[in-house]
Amino acid sequence: MNFPHLHLLLNHFPIIGTTVGLGLFLISLVGENEDLRRASLIIFAAMALLAIPTFFSGTGAQGAIKKLPGVSEALIERHQGAAMLALLFMEITGALSLLGLWKLQETSRPARWNWSLSAVLILSIITVGLMARVGTTGGDIRHPEIGSGQEEITEGSAISKMVARLEPSPGKFAELMTASKWWWAFMMDLHFVGLVLLIGTVGILDLRMLGFAKQIPIDPLHRLVPWAMAGFGLNLVTGVLAFTGMDQFYTYDWAFWLKMLAIMLLGLNVAAFYLTGVFESVRGLGPGEDAPPFAKFIAASSLFLWFAVITLGRYIQSYSDTITVHK
């Protein structure tokens, strides 16, 4: 496994996944199918999560091929700018999808058409379009068999020219992030505030399921989850901005990649909690009532993984340059 391999392994998921998600979402609207709508929102949220390590793996892939003959740095930069814009829309789509899923679980009656579904529809269409461009510009870098691998940028249609103007220049963006140490300090400060929001709310829910402070009923405690999502969102934004500012620093760091792995596993943990009946099994628990063993297992793995994320995050600085391939 090396960075180009990892990038290729990951990068098809957000492109194809959002397209499939959009298809299911459209069918769910036409057929007024509640389950299908839920499935499509889950896919958008999952793709938004997976898009993050996909984006991060691009820097290492670039490092591996940029010195090869026939590889144009300009084309790589165009692909990176396209990926940044697509990631922005992907994450907004994912956040709105989570909001929609939250509303679905809060009310048992069928959800009516509302603004958040319209927003998901519009944003997911834009995301699919931008993802297609990310895929195309990425393919242009090194696929001679489809006529790519040209040395300079040739913009095709009027639409792609217009979108290209909206895409940030990766180099300038990185400079913007690191120009002021106060801006950097501010982002890191917010990253810690997000950590507290997340671990405070999720941690107490997990501890209650494990039997701590049993007098608290679970369903009311679960209402704190949007605060955890806000904390995660804050850390996703500050984390991605920090990465774009110092991508070389983070890319060749084992602690950073293990942290990403732990966050992906947490995605699975959340899915196991909400989609395999665990949440239903604990939702009704009142004061003094004990959670079933599988719910305790999910709570314990959540706590373990979040503390692993903190641990790996703290060790990023001391594990810089521990990955030496292609540097």
């Binding site: 300090a185 890191m188 400060d189 810690f192 950590l195 402070a213 209402r223 704190l224 903190i310 703290r314």
Partner: protein, 168 residues
């Protein structure tokens, strides 16, 4: 003005040097890690109590949240110990930085507010929920502001120091 000499004395001890310079993952970064764990426990639990006192997740009964104070004290104990160790590792860096004293002062006030929330809101068994919230709302606001201030002042220590080690 040169920093006081006792800072150099601390820095020259074997323990301080080991904490600061050891390549072992169980030296400086390990202490820093537990300082972060303590922060997560202390401020995380405080924040949940504060939010509830301010009316978030009203369906959560207030009285059993008293249990969270034990988490806060565990977090505080961890950070008091690891904090002292971090100062031993970099005495000149921390003790010559005015921000360090700002941080300690803010934490002092935050702990005072935390203690008042416990004694004035949670210790009085005669209070109903509305009375607890009425008594706790202003304290909860201050608690959130002060802990945010403590985190910010702590983060800034990494960006505002004048000397990393004793100037030679």
């Amino acid at each position: 003005m040169a920093p006081p000499l006792f800072l150099q004395t601390i820095e020259d001890t074997g323990f301080s040097t080991w904490l600061r310079e050891s390549e072992s993952p169980f030296a400086f970064y390990f202490i820093l890690l537990f300082h972060t764990f303590g922060l997560a426990l202390l401020v995380g639990a405080n924040m949940v109590v504060d939010l509830r006192l301010l009316g978030v997740a009203r369906a959560v009964p207030l009285a059993p949240l008293k249990r969270l104070f034990s988490i806060m004290w565990i977090g505080f104990a961890m950070n008091a110990v690891t904090g002292v160790l971090l100062v031993i590792a970099y005495p000149t860096k921390s003790l010559t930085n005015p921000d360090f004293y700002v941080k300690l002062t803010v934490i002092g006030f935050a702990l005072w507010v935390m203690w008042r929330i416990r004694s004035e809101v949670f210790e009085d068994a005669n209070l109903n929920e509305a009375e607890m919230m009425a008594r706790g709302a202003a304290l909860a606001k201050w608690s959130l502001i002060l802990w945010f201030g403590a985190i910010t002042a702590g983060r800034l220590l990494a960006y505002t120091y004048k000397y990393l080690t004793f100037p030679s």
